[in-house]
C-alpha cells in the first residue's frame, strides 16, 4: 500500500537525467544559435539605446515641456497636464530624474514593440478561429507563467542587459494587446460589416474603414493595459540588468532601505498614473462622435 500514500513518482535517476539532457540541449542550442539570435535583436537594442539616450541627455526643462505637450495633445485637459508636470517635478526633486527617464524609455519601447507585434496578431486571430484556438493557450502561458521562469532562457541566450529585459517586458505586456484587438474586431456590429460588404469593400477596405475604427476603443483599452503591465514588469526586469526605477527598488529590498524603496515605488506609481490618464483621455477623445447623442 506504499504507492497509495506516497505518489509513485518517476525514478530519481531518470528524472535527473531528463533534466540534465534538457539543460545540455538548451545550452548547446545557445552556443550554436546565441550569436544569430543576438544579431536578430540588434535593431531592437539600437532603438532602445537611442530612446534612452534621448530621454537622459535632453535637458530636464525641455523634457518636461515635451511630456507636458504630449499630454496636452493627447488629452486636451489642463488638469491632466498639470498633474503630469507636478509628478515629474516631484520625481526630479527627489533625485530620481535619470532613473525615471530610463524607465520611461523602456516602457515606451516596450509598448511600441507590443503594439507593432500585437495588433497584427490580434487581427489575424479575429479572422481565423483556428489561429485563435492556437494562440489563446500561448497567451495563457505568457500571462500565468512566473516571469522568473522565462527570464532564465532569455538570459542564457542573450546574457544580462537591456534587450533581454525588454523581451521579458514584452512577453508580459503583449497579451492584453493581442486579446483586446481580437475581441474588439470580433465585436464589431455585424450589420455595419454587412453594409460594407454590400457596397463591395475588399477585405482590406473592410478592415481599414470599418473593423479597426470600430474596434478602436477596445484596442485603446488594450494599449492602456499593456502600458500598465510593462510598468509592473520594471522591477522584475531590473534583476537582469535593466536600469531605471527598478534598480533602487531591488537594492532597497536587499538592504532593507524602507524610504528608498518607498520613493522609487511611488515614482513608478506616478508614472503609471500619468500614462494611464493620458492614454485613456486620448482614447475617449477618439470616440467623440459617440458622446453627442440625438435627444
Amino acid at each position: 500500500m506504499d504507492w497509495f500514500y506516497s505518489f509513485p513518482n518517476m525514478n530519481d535517476d531518470t528524472l535527473r537525467n531528463l533534466k540534465k539532457t534538457m539543460d545540455e540541449g538548451f545550452k548547446a542550442f545557445t552556443r550554436q544559435y546565441g550569436d544569430i539570435i543576438e544579431s536578430f535583436f540588434q535593431p531592437l537594442q539600437y532603438f532602445l539605446i537611442q530612446a534612452e539616450r534621448f530621454m537622459t541627455t535632453t535637458p530636464w526643462p525641455v523634457m518636461i515641456v515635451l511630456i507636458g505637450g504630449i499630454a496636452w495633445i493627447a488629452s486636451r485637459n489642463w488638469k491632466i497636464v498639470g498633474g503630469t508636470i507636478l509628478t515629474l517635478l516631484l520625481i526630479g526633486y527627489f533625485d530620481m530624474w535619470s532613473d525615471a527617464m530610463k524607465t520611461i524609455a523602456m516602457i515606451f519601447v516596450g509598448t511600441v514593440v507590443s503594439i507593432v507585434v500585437g495588433i497584427p496578431i490580434g487581427i489575424v486571430m479575429a479572422r481565423s478561429d483556428g489561429f485563435q484556438r492556437m494562440v489563446n493557450p500561448i497567451l495563457d502561458v505568457m500571462q500565468t507563467m512566473p516571469s522568473f521562469v522565462y527570464l532564465i532562457p532569455v538570459v542564457m541566450l542573450l546574457g544580462i542587459g537591456k534587450v533581454p529585459g525588454l523581451i521579458a517586458v514584452v512577453i508580459y505586456a503583449i497579451p492584453p494587446m493581442i486579446r483586446l484587438t481580437n475581441l474588439g474586431i470580433r465585436l464589431v456590429d455585424k450589420d455595419v460589416l454587412e453594409a460594407a460588404d454590400a457596397f463591395g469593400s475588399s477585405s482590406w477596405q473592410r478592415l481599414r474603414n470599418v473593423q479597426i475604427p470600430l474596434a478602436l476603443p477596445t484596442i485603446m483599452a488594450g494599449i492602456n493595459q499593456t502600458i500598465m503591465m510593462a510598468l509592473a514588469m520594471v522591477v522584475i526586469a531590473s534583476m537582469i540588468g535593466v536600469q531605471g526605477l527598478g534598480q533602487p527598488v531591488l537594492r532597497s529590498v536587499n538592504g532593507q532601505f524602507f524610504s528608498l524603496g518607498l520613493f522609487n515605488g511611488l515614482a513608478i506609481v506616478g508614472i503609471a498614473i500619468i500614462f494611464d490618464r493620458v492614454s485613456q483621455a486620448y482614447g475617449k477623445r477618439l470616440q467623440k462622435h459617440q458622446e453627442v447623442v440625438h435627444g
Partner: protein, 357 residues
C-alpha cells in the same frame, strides 16, 4: 433601350433554393421532390430558407417582397447581391448569373450594380453624414472631389442639407435612414435593394420616407427591390408585389390583383385590413352599361383610386361618373353604389374574421 429614362436593370430569379445547415447540398434534391419544411427541420436538422423562388423583376419598377418575419424575405433580398449564397438556382442580372460570379467579379458587381439600404441603417458611427454618404464611391476609388460632389447632391435631395458634418448619433432614426438612402443613391447603381428600410421608423416618418422614395423614383427610375412586412407599405410603393410565406412565393402581381383576388386564406387575412378605397382603382368597377346620361358631366380618369373618385362625385353631388382614359375618351361608368360596395370589405372576409374570433 426603348425607354432611355429607365436606368435600372431587370432581375430574374429562377428556381432559387436556400437551405441552411451543415450539408445543404445533400437535401436539395429531396426538397425539390417535395420534402416539407417541417420534415427537413425535424428529421435532418436543416432549415429551409427559400423554396423554388421565381420572380421576374422588370427594370425601373419597384418590386415589393412582402412577408411576415421568418418568411424568408430578408434571405431573398440578400441573394440578389449574394450576401447569402444560394443552395441552388440562378439570379440573372444584365445577362450574368450573380450566383456564379467569382469573388472579384462579385465585388465589382456590388460596387457598380447594386446599392443597399438596411433596416438598422448600418451607418459608420465614426464618420460624419458626408463621409458616410461617399462610402460607396470611396470604395470604387473615385477622386474625393467627385465623391463629395455626388454625395452633397444626394444629401440635399433627401433633405439633409446642413447636416453634412453631423455624426449619425446626433440624428433621429428618420434622419439616419435618409443618410442610408443618400449613401445608396450616391452609389448611382441601377439596382436599389431596400431591406425593411422603413420598418424601424415611426408611422408618420415612415409615410414621409415613402413619399421621398416615390418622388425620387419618378426621377431615377431604378429597379427597386423593397422588403416589408407591412401590406399598406407594399401597396403604396409596389408596382409589383410578391408575397412570401415559409420561404415560398404564395402570390405575385400588382397591388390590385392581390387585394381583389387574394390567392388563399393567408393572403385574404392580410388584405381584409387594407383600406380598399386607397388601393382599388375605378377601372376595376367601371361598367360599360349604366346611365351615362345621368353622370351630369362628372368625369374621373382611369387609374384614379376609389376614395378620390368618391370625393369628386360627392363634391359634385352626383350618383354617377364617367371614367375617361388619358385621351379623354370615355371607357365606362361608375355609380356611387358600386363605389361603396367595392370600398367596404367583402362579406367573405368579415365572416372569416368572425369565425377566427
Amino acid at each position: 433601350m426603348a425607354d432611355r429614362s429607365v436606368q435600372g436593370a431587370g432581375i430574374k430569379i429562377k428556381n432559387l433554393y436556400k437551405i441552411f445547415g451543415q450539408r445543404p447540398q445533400a437535401y436539395v434534391e429531396a426538397v425539390k421532390k417535395g420534402m416539407s419544411k417541417t420534415e427537413l427541420n425535424e428529421d435532418h436538422g436543416h432549415v429551409l430558407g427559400l423554396r423554388d423562388i421565381n420572380i421576374d423583376m422588370p427594370a425601373g419598377c419597384i418590386q415589393v417582397v412582402m412577408g411576415l418575419s421568418g418568411s424568408g424575405k430578408s434571405t431573398l433580398i440578400r441573394h440578389i447581391n449574394r450576401l447569402i449564397d444560394p443552395t441552388a438556382g440562378e439570379v440573372i442580372i444584365d445577362g450574368a448569373d450573380v450566383c456564379k460570379m467569382n469573388q472579384n467579379d462579385l465585388r465589382q458587381f456590388r460596387r457598380h450594380k447594386t446599392a443597399m439600404v438596411f433596416q438598422k441603417f448600418a451607418l459608420l458611427p465614426h464618420r460624419t453624414v458626408l463621409d458616410n454618404t461617399v462610402y460607396g464611391l470611396e470604395i470604387q476609388g473615385l477622386s474625393r472631389e467627385k465623391q463629395e460632389e455626388q454625395a452633397r447632391r444626394w444629401i440635399g435631395r433627401v433633405g439633409l442639407k446642413g447636416f453634412e458634418d453631423h455624426y449619425p448619433n446626433q440624428l433621429s432614426g428618420g434622419m439616419q435612414q435618409r443618410v442610408g438612402l443618400a449613401r445608396a443613391l450616391t452609389n448611382d447603381a441601377p439596382i436599389l435593394l431596400m431591406d425593411e428600410a422603413f420598418s424601424a421608423l415611426d408611422p408618420l416618418i415612415r409615410m414621409d420616407m415613402q413619399s421621398v422614395l416615390l418622388d425620387l423614383q419618378k426621377e431615377i427610375k431604378k429597379t427597386v427591390v423593397f422588403i416589408t412586412h407591412d401590406l399598406d407599405e407594399a401597396l403604396r410603393l409596389g408596382d409589383r408585389i410578391a408575397i412570401l410565406r415559409d420561404g415560398e412565393v404564395v402570390q405575385q402581381g400588382t397591388g390590385q390583383d392581390i387585394v381583389l383576388k387574394p390567392a388563399d386564406e393567408y393572403i385574404s387575412s392580410f388584405v381584409k385590413e387594407v383600406n380598399r378605397g386607397r388601393v382599388i382603382m375605378v377601372d376595376t368597377i367601371a361598367t360599360q352599361s349604366g346611365a351615362p346620361s345621368a353622370t351630369g358631366g362628372v368625369t374621373v380618369k382611369t387609374g384614379t383610386i376609389l376614395e378620390e373618385a368618391a370625393k369628386t362625385m360627392t363634391d359634385a353631388n352626383q350618383q354617377y361618373a364617367t371614367v375617361i382614359d388619358d385621351n379623354g375618351k370615355p371607357t365606362g361608368v361608375i355609380s356611387m353604389n358600386n363605389l361603396i360596395q367595392a370600398m367596404v370589405t367583402p362579406i367573405s372576409h368579415l365572416t372569416s374574421k368572425a369565425a377566427a374570433e
